[in-house]
Symmetry: D2
């Protein structure tokens, strides 16, 4: 399914996301400048707004963002939330935003998580479809700025906006259950802990790396949530080196990658979910780095190399071919 | 510590290895041609032998290989085996091979695992040091050809050569214990299994990827052994596509990568073991692909691009700088 | 902390409960006849009501029940729910029942879970204390009749009454999280499952009992919830034999027993929580069986041996001394 | 299958054992006095020897002991060791002892583990059968005195006598693998450990008993080995109180009990292994305490109440009926 996370190192702020699916939707890196006209079904259109960079399928000249960041450093990703996500009919007096409109509606207007919270205070996420071919996807969202993160879940009992103290999101179950589940991993440690079993039983520290032995290794969303949180908080970040941090970010994201073959989602023929792309944003500089399952090299798209005052989309197809460097 | 594995896909044969340490020994990709003179301490020198490609530190013009393959498709890697590895004094009547000589001695002469087994029948792995600065490392070895693998362990009770039916090696404990431990993971599955808890308790399949949930997620050598075996056997290999297989090999190897920060091996200052490099050999074609912790791009060195009839080493320093592709 | 469960075998209905604490409150087996006058703080007193048998501390001639059953086969147990339980001030228009009054108020009036649900529809569980020495305990409750179970939790956001499809309750977290967590154990099985790891890796079925290997073995409330549910549903019940079923019930309850020494709750001096008593009710016959930590023999108190039309309590102190049978 | 363990508390020495099978062999408590004539197939008969108390099937007036202790405080139990146990043909020059003779041969002559070690130095455990109806059972043995324990395993490569520093034995795999496996549980603790996950992630200590959460809960022999070791070393023993220690011993043994229904060993009809009996020896006083699956009460047989200078067996059938104490 998917994993997203946010973190800051000194003054640098990053947002990472894996997209895990068994098929691709033609997504590419898409920059939306400030004067591209966002039309919405019920809420007011945004003709002038913050600029966006992210990964999107473009349909009928509309960027259906999977994840994105704006030029003020607010980032947002929509992650699969099947069986739980519930989108309602329109409700009079509410801000009725279709699920596929939520990312541009928030990122177009909000510079911070606090501003997003205010905008979300009156929201109703509606079940309108983008088109007959594109019914709503069941999603929940992680929204992060330089220092804070929130999760937005639209359940059968209404929209919930949760503070996210760990800055991680995966998929089911709902966020409060995921956050609670972390409590069960309090003895996971980067260091090998002393023997607690019994002072009378001399236990051997027979291998390096016994500290995190009980990390869950599965592809399921609880396992990825725990690993992503542990790996992010224990990663060795560098205060000053952008490349080192981006490199470490991709190591963290790849630690919750879904390798093809491990997560079977259909038979006859067998289909497997895998990490189609991994994206890492530098939220301060408008940079989007990515790798794909088929290309290990890190690619970089810089938002500031296009005219952000423009009114038309700029799209960069993913570089999917394995870019091998021939040394000799 | 380290992980190595071997596998074949139809007619293609591969060997992968992660080197996990907290510091680097100046290793590079080194090709040893057929007429480079290998001097040994006690056994007969090899002036003419099979050619080798692998990762080595070169000291006094001697390639100290960490892992290598020869031009007949036999591959070999030395992996950390602390506290268990025991190298003896020379024994009269035995083939006394120092631990650092083992890789060239085997790969210089053997085209297959069967030939290696015969050569190993009379071996004594000695405790001689390469130099005062380079005492013997405590190692055990994985040797693989197109279809078979063996493990060589020199313990206090002598040298053991084990058939390795799963073609995987990590570190402690000794290989028979590692192999036995796999039995505990029989219910790990790529597919989500049906409810076995009780027919009277309706359990929800709430997330994709629940099949491998109980895979051990640690950095320790048992956890990596289990994950490497499961991930290798369930990977989606392609019968015909070399690049697809190399790509999948790197996904498997990176699934047992040690991210920096998760495996603390010293305090004051804190030091962390991490996967310094990952190497993948195509054993049929003499190709060595690698990534490093600091450079995600796959680099390729082709053994056949140098004169394999020569008598001097060719070395390629690792490309360690992150090779980012600027899309715009 | 505590574990309770309910189950039916053909026409026999049982309710079991462990009380886990580090100290005892002087509890005994107490029978309350139908005309004992229950005085309540705010709701109407019950001068005539169903008769009760259960475990209680008697203070000022008032039975503070830990768990009980009535003469119509409805059973109820209060289990520790610290940090979560929230008892409110009285609310006008609600049935304001103090937490310590809840068991007699429900069991005194309700013959079934459905009747209990109706009575609970307007409840407010209040924070009134029994006495200055006895402030309210943070509890939640399992209520079971012949076929159904519900859980009552009074949280900060109000009173919740949950259907309990598995008929098990332990402690934190709240019941919906406990029930959800069972989904993670779908591959636990009484039978040893076939190898799912890989058809290419022959894994040995080296021990009987590998099916439930991944059952959590802890003393914590999630581990006990999972074990109690698995063990109850897989136990071998007998359609006709009361003694066999009571015997099996005690085996199930003892499988989630807290052995003294495994759950340290204080230091200087060290204190350990342990299973002070285990009680098993036959709900059809008004029988209460129990063991204590210090006495393995099963003791039986029969409600119907006292005059249930009476108006005064009958109390039987626990037989705590180990009743050893000297064979020779 | 089975679990056995030994421990000492100050000057009291105990030995406990569960017998786990799907069927019973008519075993009872049997006392063998010092002048009962033990006939052996190849080694010298023992006409005068130490007296024994233990659990045995008596066939043709020969006590086939499952476990026993002698009047000098040496105890011994034979536990299932299928697929691994290998009994050889007789070997000239060795002490050829049939597997079913081992317990009387050792306990008849040895007062301590050191004496047993010496007697075992020249042993060959043979494959002779007791009778056509009673072929050899595949076993290994735990031998314990007041302070030490050893394990005897007869494998395909010969007889091994291992020091057992933890005084626990279950079943497969072989003892060195079982002992090694304990290293993986170093962070299991009776106390709830501080948060090691990350200082930046405030994790809640939401339940008592989280310390041993990761204890394996299975019925398999590795799970039982770990639990028995942890529970024994963390139990609260009493320096002076015999009854308290016996009570605690039964709690430890019951913590690794196999509840009927959890370990399916056959289908059509379904058969389940369960803990047929639990026995606890006071090695200093010649006392044998036991419970059975069907009778919770502790029964006591005192070796010293029979004439230990006699020459005929005294047998006490198990008290299998549930001995319920009717309180009213």
């Amino acid at each position: 399914m998917c994993t997203a996370l946010s973190f800051q190192v000194d003054n640098n702020h990053y947002f990472g996301r894996n997209l895990d699916l068994e098929l691709s939707y033609g997504q590419q890196v898409v920059i939306t400048p400030q004067n591209f006209s966002f039309k919405f079904r019920e809420v007011a259109n945004l003709d002038h707004h913050f600029a966006l960079i992210g990964v999107a399928s473009v349909v009928d000249n509309y960027p259906l963002y999977f994840d994105a960041a704006n030029d003020h450093g607010l980032a947002m990703g929509g992650l699969n939330y099947p069986d739980n996500a519930y989108y309602a009919d329109s409700i009079s007096g509410k801000d009725n935003v279709a699920s596929f409109e939520l990312i541009p509606w928030i990122l177009g207007q909000c510079a911070t998580v606090d501003e997003a919270k205010k905008l979300l205070a009156n929201i109703n996420i509606t079940n309108q479809q983008f088109s007959q071919q594109l019914p709503p996807s069941p999603l929940h969202w992680l929204i992060s700025d330089h220092s804070d993160s929130i999760v937005v879940e639209s359940d059968r009992d209404g929209v919930h906006v949760y503070d996210n103290p760990v800055g991680v999101l995966t998929n089911n179950p709902s966020f409060p259950k995921q956050l609670f589940n972390l409590n069960n991993y309090r003895t996971i440690s980067a260091a090998t802990l002393p023997n607690q079993f019994s002072a009378q039983v001399p236990l051997e520290d027979y291998s390096r790396g016994l500290g995190p032995r009980n990390l869950p290794g599965g592809m399921d969303s609880e396992s990825r949530f725990v690993r992503a949180a542990f790996n992010k908080y224990n990663a060795t970040w560098d205060q000053h080196d952008e490349v080192a941090n981006i490199t470490e970010l991709f190591h963290v994201m790849h630690s919750v990658e879904q390798q093809s073959g491990l997560d079977q989602v259909a038979t006859n023929p067998a289909k497997f979910e895998y990490t189609i792309y991994t994206v890492g944003y530098n939220l301060d500089k408008g940079l989007l780095y990515y790798t794909t399952y088929t290309n290990n090299q890190i690619n970089l798209v810089n938002m500031n190399k296009v005219n952000l005052q423009g009114n038309s989309l700029t799209a960069y197809p993913f570089v999917n071919d394995q870019a091998i460097n021939n040394v000799n």
